[in-house]
Symmetry: C2
Subunit: 333 residues, 2 copies
């Protein structure tokens, strides 16, 4: 569990896109961020107050979160001088970078001398159990995609927001590093040892109130040959009561796999539902989330209407139109 | 790659069953073992020549393989005195124990001083790539089971033997520690990081002659909620041309999961085939391997005939009757 609130470290971000983690925190958990810290030459701005490390502390920040991708495959000396100063002032650090904070001797030393914690959310810090498959109380919904990076995390976060607005009990359960940094906890599923994947998902979504929904962030796709095993561990470890299909309709091929066509939503539904019923015989597909970013508003509305008619399920783009109808579908279960 | 041939260390095995790894090596790769090394009180005997460490060396042994389970969750001092002596004499050591040789300071020191290698086959020693899904040359067959521990490794090894006898080109590809020790190489798939599982299977089964078959050892089951993700990585990383269904008909429930019924062979086929066709559209189920150890010969023959009629596929128990008909089915593809 990462201590909140955060000060968001944007460093010397070369562009807005590289600050995607900071932007995600600001968009989805604005109360988790007291401000942003930008170095000279920073080209990103997530639209919250600029603060020095001192101002962040005064505003209550507990953790400096690296909200930006690093360059060149290493952590620069310019960054490190800020990070070490932050540790000396009493901040914990949190990062989802491939370069681990815990493998940088000077950061480790500074954290130890100052009694602070380095959170590398890309690697697990828990010994997860082997899944036992026992039925858990509470309800769970899982986002399953036709491909990687089609908007499963966004869909889950938007659904959580919509459910909260309706007064439903829900918790977003992060399974990737961006989601973990946004919410402060979760399981970095792609870094878990194979035997413990499903057990990690069970650990992430324990017994809960009968009317509480865990909204589980999806990963990969059952038809993406590089990562499908991770996806199936989510389907079986998550015991979902409900699935939401996520799709991006303009992909020329599966992400990273030029020889593989993106499957149809029907294909994924036909695969995912029988697999999900192994862990939860009552599982249903309740809705469809389409990422229409490459469509005009008119195209998007027409496409969503067509999908809705063909599949007989509510079809929305949560980015354009919100996730209320998906929340309604869960409430109606 | 573990250097062969081996001397098989049986230690102070309490019974025959605990020497299952040594027995597997003797049964399937007798040329890999020059003899067995037994300590006082050893109650196991795999039926090959007893040798001292000196005799093993003289017979050409390169590696002392721990062919027996240890007791009490640690490696005893009695074992260690033998293991250290072996390292000093020039043996490498290989082990599939949960207690890693590489975490025992005295063994590590002795291996370093003597320039020997400690092989812990339970943990990967390769940085596997992320799967790229590219079509590979050569053919592959994968054993898929209705449950864990139904005889997938045995089926694959028996099939390899039958294919060799027919003069077909084949290689058994181990994916678990016992199989790795038997053949000297492989991938300990259950210990691989999630993101790299399918890539590890691609690595294990590279391009080969057009008429060569990789016989891939299966793991888990697509319907075993604890391990299904590992199984799917085999289905997608392996790009199998052929699947062999493995079943044990007397299980009261899935192994380790009292609340889960064992699926039918038809259910597994209906799940596995569409998933396998993602990676290889030509994949076919070519045969069924039934573990009839709890049946009399008469019951076994009747059961196999019934399965064969119902499924329209050759159904054999390779332990009772050999795997020739499965090899024939592959030859006919």
């Amino acid at each position: 569990m990462i201590q909140t609130p955060y000060l968001l470290f944007l460093g010397d971000a070369p562009d807005q896109l590289s600050a995607k983690v900071a932007q995600g925190i600001k968009d989805w958990r604005p109360d988790n961020a007291v401000g942003q810290f930008r170095m000279d030459g920073c080209a990103a701005d997530v639209g919250i107050k600029d603060m020095t490390l001192e101002e962040g502390l005064a505003a209550g920040a507990k953790t400096l979160v690296i909200g930006v991708a690093n360059r060149g495959g290493y952590i620069s000396q310019e960054w490190k001088s800020v990070l070490i100063q932050a540790l000396e002032m009493g901040y914990d650090l949190a990062s989802g970078l491939h370069n681990l904070l815990g493998e940088e001797g000077d950061l480790v030393a500074a954290s130890q001398v100052n009694g602070r914690t380095l959170h590398d959310v890309r690697v697990p810090n828990v010994e997860y159990p082997i899944a036992n498959g026992k039925k858990r109380t509470g309800k769970r919904v899982l986002a399953v995609g036709t491909d990687c990076s089609v908007g499963k995390m966004y869909t889950a976060l938007a659904l959580d927001e919509a459910m909260q607005k309706k007064g439903m009990k829900s918790t977003f359960r992060a399974t990737g590093q961006t989601g973990i940094l946004i919410t402060g906890s979760g399981v970095p599923l792609d870094a878990v040892i194979a035997d413990f994947m499903a057990g990690a998902v069970e650990y992430l979504t324990p017994d809960n109130d009968a009317d509480h929904w865990d909204i589980i962030e999806g990963q990969g796709s059952l038809m993406h040959v590089s990562y499908s095993g991770v996806t199936l561990a989510l389907v079986h470890g998550g015991q979902p009561d409900a699935l939401i299909l996520c799709h991006e309709p303009t992909r020329p091929h599966m992400r990273g796999l030029p020889d593989y066509k993106v499957p149809t939503m029907q294909q994924i539904m036909d695969l995912a539902l029988p697999l999900a019923k192994v862990g939860n015989p009552d599982c249903k597909v309740v809705g469809i989330s389409v990422n229409t970013q490459h469509f005009s508003e008119e195209e998007a509305v027409a496409y969503l209407a067509k999908v809705e008619a063909e599949m007989g399920l509510p079809a929305v783009d949560p980015f354009r139109h919100g996730a209320e109808r998906l929340a309604d579908a869960l409430a109606a279960l």
